[in-house]
Amino acid sequence: MDRAAESEFSEFMHSRWLQLLRLGFVLTGDTGLAEDLAQTALARAYASWPRIRRAWDPDAYVRRVMVNANHSWFRKRRVAEQLTGMVPEPAPVEPVGGCDDRVVLMGALMSLPVGQRSVLVLRFWLDMTEAQVAETLGCSVGNVKSQAARALARLRAGTDLGEEVSREQL
């Protein structure tokens, strides 16, 4: 890779890092895994940079790598983790405050299946169109619509969550 391309990639990496890190956190629920995911996506982008800067949208490329890598890691984690029928310890109920709203929201998001969570985050946080989300996730637009509707319905149905998020309206 020549110096101009290296410099261009460096700019791209620095400008997108936080977005990818945060996307990784929403996908995995773990900051360590989020960093790994973002790093993997950017490393793959680096390996293919001369090609993707010419013929592809780098943002779409790294997002797709992140989503696919997470799906693949998730499948591996399911095998590695021991599933039990009981929750080990109930979480203490905290009074609702500015910071707690975030905890409630993130907790509710994390309770969604990874597919629904991915659709919600890409569609509403990254403000992507349904077609872009479908392209990133490698599924149909109809599938994106139905996943988004189901996910929103689950969030609304969650205990107190609808009110929490309504209070969050900015």
Partner: protein, 362 residues
Amino acid sequence: MSSFDGQDLGQAVGRALATITAPVPEPAIVAQGRRIRQRRRLVRAGAVAVVATVAVALPGLLFTAVRPSPPARPLTISKLGPTARDGVIGAGTLEGKPWTVRLAGPGPVATAAGLPATGRLGTAPAGSAPVTFRVAGSGGWRVLAGPVSPAVAYLTMRLSGGTSYRLWPVAWHGHAYVGVVVPWNLPLARVTAYTRHGELAYAIPYPNLGGFPRVVSWLRPGAPVPAVSSATVAHGWTGRPAGQWSVQVQVGPWGTCLLDRLGYQGIWCRPAVSYPPNAVILVMSGPGLTEAAGITGRAVAYIQLRLRNGKTARLHVLHIGGQGFYALSLLAGQVASWTAYTTTGHAIANGTGTPGSPRSAK
């Protein structure tokens, strides 16, 4: 509960995620990327060796296996009639595939097959600009469209390699527009607007790396081209682990652009205009964004902040080419009010909330 929708969710998620930060592990990313590339090269070399071996045995296969793909065909733009038919304001081919740009609805928005629609274009360009472009797209293509001033006879887009394309305005519902489909990484070096009698104005786009070039500011022919300068407006630590932040400004012939260097929200650009001496204008802001930054007039030397926790803080204003720039981290504490001062300590502007936000100034 009934008011909860996806848009609220997007904003709430943005705010919730704003505290998640970490420094870019640049050396690790580059090293991992190099290892991936090296592995691919080895795999490719192995594949070539296999193909070559088979080709020796089957000469006819060699031609099929290693024939290079035909070169991509360039962008072509057709000249349409003066008035849009069925809303079509642009047509041509890109990489051998036909495209059309069509206007629809009030506003209107521009659409092209397979691409998302632009935002509302409006019926006239902003201020005295010959054209105001809006960009939308996904994958490798972008729609570029916008309203054109009635004075403009045509526009040219010159690429960094020297190739030039001409765009002819097309009338739709009494207003002129141009629309074109281009590759996302179009190396746009200059856009020039012409009247029937000659050159009207030109723009040197901001070279937005990783995104589409931004056409922001227009220069009159013969006017001096502003020099390029770049500086860090402010940077710091929020006190949280890995809470580093930084805002940069880049001034040049494109206008003024503020960059959230560690953030993802990107780049905020404004045309090069003369601001009142006491102006304080918030430019970089948005839901979920952990930094704010803005432009001031030449008389503003610093901005004194009063935070909601009762503390005070002073924002240094960086001056470049007759404009001042300020930036602050919103994680450090919520701003209750602010006052802008001259070098001699005279208060010349004040307000509540984040400095320069539209509702804050008094």
